[in-house]
């Protein structure tokens, strides 16, 4: 059993995202193995990447800049910690090599009947670090509109009756 570095449980410090991919595991894995692949899909719609250096081996680094749709540049630094084709990649993701906010992500790819499932599990050092990184991503995303809509939706759900002008 691994010892935790702090008292917060892992679930409080992690974010897990899962997605089905129509295609074999080896192709999903392949999409990670080269910057020419990664540049085709990394980041939300409207984002592009410029790779400064790329080496796909344990201890190797992908040094790149993300360009947001509004023209903002975001430095990114990924170190590959573990590469186990075709099912598992562990990486450290930050904005530069010594980034104290860097977090560890485990990519797991499984396949059943030609359909793959990819799971990204990102574990942060502390819960507050998670929140901080998340804030940054929120800023990157410029999801203000979506969130505004969401907040309105929640308000409508939660306060169906009160129309008080206090």
């Amino acid at each position: 059993m691994e010892a935790d570095l702090n008292s917060e449980s892992t679930s409080e410090r992690e974010i897990v995202v899962t997605r089905s991919i129509e295609g074999p595991q080896r192709l999903v894995f392949a999409a990670y193995t080269d910057s020419s692949h990664l540049s085709n899909w990394w980041g939300p719609e409207g984002f592009t990447t410029t790779t400064h250096s790329f080496e796909f081996r344990p201890g190797g680094v992908w040094d790149f800049t993300m360009h947001g749709p509004d023209g903002t540049d975001y430095p990114n630094w990924i170190e590959w910690l573990e590469i186990s084709p075709p099912e598992r990649i562990v990486l450290r993701h930050g904005s530069h090599s010594e980034d104290p906010e860097a977090f560890t992500s485990t990519v797991t790819i499984t396949e059943r009947g030609g359909v793959s499932e990819i799971t990204l599990r990102s574990v942060f050092n502390t819960r507050s670090q998670r929140d901080m990184v998340v804030e940054k991503y929120h800023a990157i995303e410029g999801a203000e509109q979506t969130l505004g809509r969401l907040a309105n939706h929640v308000s409508a759900l939660l306060r169906p009756t009160t129309e008080s002008g206090d």
Binding site: R19, E22, W41, P44, R127, S128, Y137, L147
Partner: protein, 115 residues
């Protein structure tokens, strides 16, 4: 980079299961502390304490209604939590949508290469 302590506070506030339970109860309607305490099976002072934490982070409001003080859920306080679930997860979920598209491209290439 500037920290936003209130963001962390809202997360801390809902980390406590009984406080989440309180929010679920208040989602339905405004309630006085006595009813909340009996629903939770907690003494009233302990319930008040949890409500105070929730008020401090803006998740709950209180208003005077005649002789009663009624507690209610303040949806605006949930915003940091929505921002969290929306921001990072959406970033990756959109990336993975694109990954799906790209894998389709790779498959077509493979097929046309006859491998």
């Amino acid at each position: 980079m500037a920290r936003a302590p209130t963001t962390a506070d809202a997360f801390n506030a809902i980390a406590e299961p009984r406080r989440r339970h309180l929010l679920m109860l208040l989602k339905e309607s405004e309630l006085p502390v006595g009813e909340l305490a009996s629903s939770l099976g907690l003494p009233q002072p302990a319930t008040s304490k949890h409500l105070r934490v929730l008020r401090e982070v803006g998740l709950v409001y209180v208003r005077q209604a005649g002789k009663q003080r009624l507690y209610g859920l303040d949806a605006r306080g949930l915003r940091p939590i929505h921002e969290w679930t929306g921001g990072f997860e959406r970033f990756w979920s959109e990336s993975l949508d694109r990954l799906n598209d790209y894998v389709q491209e790779l498959r077509r290439e493979e097929q046309s290469n006859g491998s």
